[in-house]
C-alpha cells in the first residue's frame, strides 16, 4: 500500500511537469498551428536566467518571477523575429525553423552559461512530508508543482473562455482572415500566444530544475514525454494537455515502480503509438473531426 501511494504521488508530480510542458505546446499549436520544437531549450534558457538572478539576489521568488517574464519576452521575440517570416509558408518550414532554434539555443546556452552542472535551489523542502507518523512520498516542492500547474491551467481556461482577449486569440487562431475583418489585430494575438506559451514553458523549466541540476540539456528528457503528453491529450485542448500529462506521469511512474525503470521510455513510445493508432487526434480531440 505504501508503495502504491508513493508511486501514485510521484507519478502525479511528474505528470504535472509534463502537463505544464504539454500546455505550452498546446498554446502555440492553438494560436499558430505550429509545433514548437524549441520549447524545451527556450525553457532551459529562462531557467538559466532564473539561476543567475537567484545567485545574484539570493531570492528564489525574484528569480522565479524574472524567469517567467524572460519567457514572455523570449516567446514574443521568437515569434516576431523568426516565426513570422515563415508563417503562411509550407508547414515544414516552421518545423525546421524551430528545430534549428533548438540547436542554436543549446549551443548559445553552453557558450554563455557553460557546460557545467549547476544545482538549482527549490523554494520548499525536497524531503517527503511526515504526517501523523507516516512518511508520505510527496515533497513540499511536489505539492507546489501540482498547485502551480493547476493554477496556470485555471488561468488559461479562464482567459480563453471568459475574456475578450481570449476570444480574440481563439478567433485569430481558427480563422485569421475573418478575425481581421472583425477588427482583431491578428499579428498581436499570435505574438501573445507565443509569449504566453513561453511563460508556461518557463514554468515547466523551473519545476523540472527545482532541487535538481541544471545544464544545457537538462530539459531534453522532458521534451519527449511532454510531446507524448500533448499528443495523448490532443494538441488542441488545454484540458487534454493536463490530463495527458497526468496520465503519462502516472503510467510511467507505475511502470518504473512496479516493473523496471528501464521500461519507461519504451512504455512512453508504446502509449504514443497506441494513441496515434486509435485516436490520432488525441483523447480530447473533436475540432479536427469538425473541419470540413
Amino acid at each position: 500500500m505504501q508503495q502504491f501511494f508513493t508511486t501514485l504521488l510521484a507519478g502525479l508530480t511528474l505528470g504535472a511537469v509534463y502537463a505544464a510542458f504539454a500546455l505550452a505546446l498546446c498554446l502555440i499549436w492553438r494560436s499558430t498551428r505550429v509545433v514548437n520544437f524549441a520549447q524545451a531549450p527556450m525553457a532551459m534558457v529562462t531557467t538559466y536566467v532564473a539561476l543567475e538572478v537567484i545567485d545574484h539576489t539570493g531570492s528564489y521568488w525574484f528569480g522565479f518571477a524574472v524567469a517567467l517574464l524572460a519567457g514572455l519576452v523570449l516567446g514574443a521575440v521568437v515569434e516576431r523575429g523568426l516565426v513570422r517570416f515563415v508563417e503562411g509558408k509550407s508547414d515544414l518550414n516552421v518545423v525546421i525553423l524551430t528545430l534549428g532554434l533548438f540547436v542554436v539555443l543549446h549551443s548559445l546556452a553552453a557558450i554563455v552559461f557553460g557546460q557545467d552542472y549547476k544545482s538549482f535551489p527549490a523554494p520548499f523542502g525536497l524531503r517527503g512530508l511526515h504526517v501523523a507518523g507516516h512518511d508520505i512520498a510527496i515533497t513540499g516542492f511536489g505539492i507546489f508543482t501540482l498547485i502551480a500547474v493547476a493554477v496556470v491551467f485555471g488561468l488559461l481556461v479562464a482567459l480563453f473562455r471568459f475574456t475578450d482577449l481570449g476570444l480574440k486569440m481563439r478567433a485569430s487562431a481558427f480563422s485569421p482572415e475573418v478575425a481581421r475583418l472583425l477588427g482583431v489585430r491578428v499579428g498581436k494575438m499570435l505574438t501573445l500566444g507565443w509569449a504566453l506559451a513561453a511563460v508556461v514553458g518557463s514554468l515547466a523549466g523551473l519545476l523540472v530544475a527545482g532541487g535538481n541540476l541544471v545544464f544545457p540539456q537538462f530539459m531534453d528528457s522532458v521534451v519527449v514525454y511532454g510531446f507524448v503528453a500533448a499528443v495523448l491529450g490532443g494538441l488542441d485542448s488545454p484540458a487534454g494537455s493536463v490530463v495527458g500529462g497526468l496520465v503519462l506521469g502516472l503510467a510511467l511512474s507505475f511502470v518504473s515502480g512496479y516493473a523496471a525503470s528501464d521500461l519507461v521510455p519504451i512504455t512512453a513510445l508504446g502509449i504514443l503509438v497506441l494513441v496515434l493508432l486509435v485516436r490520432p487526434g488525441g483523447l480530447f480531440s473533436h475540432v479536427a473531426e469538425r473541419r470540413v
Binding site: K168, S175, L182
Partner: protein, 234 residues
C-alpha cells in the same frame, strides 16, 4: 458614401480588377453583378484592405482608405461580410456574435445581442451551439448578425445567396432590404444571383473580366434583355 476610383488589383500576372470606378450611395443597396471570375470578390477584398490595389483609390466620405489595414475597417463603420463560410466554426454562435461587437464603429454604442436575435430568432435558439453545426442559411444569418454587432454604416456583402435554397435567399435579402429602410444602412452587395440581387437593389453595376460593363438603376438593368443574356444569365 463609399466610392472606388480607377481601382486596379493584380494577383501576380492576373489582373482581377482593371480600372473599376463605382459608387455606393448612402442608404441604398448597390448590387455588383457578374459571372465567376469577374472580380466581384476581389473588389470587396480590395475595399476592405485584405488585398492591396496596384492603382486607384477607395474613398469613404472622401478619405482614401486604400492603405488602411483591414483591422481598422470595423471602427470606421465598414463591415465586410465574407461568404457564408466566414463563420468561425469552432466558436459558439454567441461567441461569434460577441466577437463581432468587440471592435465596433468608433463612437457607436454597444449593440445589444438581443437585437440580432430579434432579426434572426433561429440564432437565439442555437446560441450555445458551436457554429459548425449550423445549416448554410443559419451560417449566413450568423455572419450578417455578427457584422451588425459592430454597428456598421456600410455593409459589404459577399454572395449571401451562395449555396442557399431560394426561399432562404429571399428571406435573407428581404431582411437586408428592411435594414436598409429602417436604419439607413449602405449596402454593397456582390452577387452571382443577379435576379435576386436586383430585386432588392436600388442600383446595379455589372462587372466582366475586371471592368464595369454596365451600371444604372436596378429596374433598368433587370429590364435590359441584351445585358441579361450577355452577362447575367437570366
Amino acid at each position: 458614401m463609399l466610392a472606388v476610383e480607377d481601382l486596379v488589383t493584380r494577383y501576380g500576372a492576373v489582373t482581377a480588377l482593371d480600372g473599376i470606378s463605382l459608387e455606393a450611395p448612402e442608404g441604398q443597396v448597390t448590387a455588383v453583378l457578374g459571372a465567376n471570375g469577374a472580380g466581384k470578390t476581389t473588389l470587396l477584398r480590395t475595399i476592405s484592405g485584405l488585398v492591396r490595389p496596384q492603382q486607384g483609390r477607395v474613398l469613404l466620405d472622401g478619405t482614401d482608405l486604400s492603405r488602411t489595414p483591414p483591422e481598422k475597417m470595423t471602427s470606421l463603420g465598414i463591415a465586410h461580410v465574407p461568404e457564408g463560410r466566414g463563420v468561425i466554426a469552432e466558436l459558439s454562435v454567441a461567441e461569434n456574435l460577441r466577437l463581432g461587437g468587440l471592435h465596433r464603429r468608433a463612437g457607436a454604442e454597444a449593440v445589444d445581442v438581443d437585437r440580432v436575435f430579434a432579426l434572426f430568432p433561429v440564432l437565439k435558439e442555437r446560441r450555445t451551439a458551436t457554429a459548425h453545426v449550423l445549416s448554410g442559411g443559419e451560417r449566413q444569418m450568423l455572419v450578417i448578425g455578427r457584422a451588425l454587432m459592430a454597428a456598421p454604416r456600410i455593409l459589404l456583402l459577399d454572395e449571401p445567396s451562395l449555396g442557399l435554397a431560394p426561399r432562404v435567399v429571399a428571406q435573407i435579402l428581404a431582411l437586408l432590404r428592411n435594414l436598409v429602410e429602417s436604419e439607413g444602412l449602405t449596402v454593397l452587395l456582390v452577387e452571382q444571383n443577379a435576379a435576386s440581387a436586383l430585386s432588392i437593389a436600388d442600383r446595379g453595376v455589372v462587372l466582366n473580366l475586371g471592368s464595369v460593363v454596365a451600371s444604372g438603376a436596378a429596374e433598368r438593368l433587370a429590364a435590359d434583355e441584351k445585358l441579361r443574356h450577355a452577362y447575367l444569365g437570366f
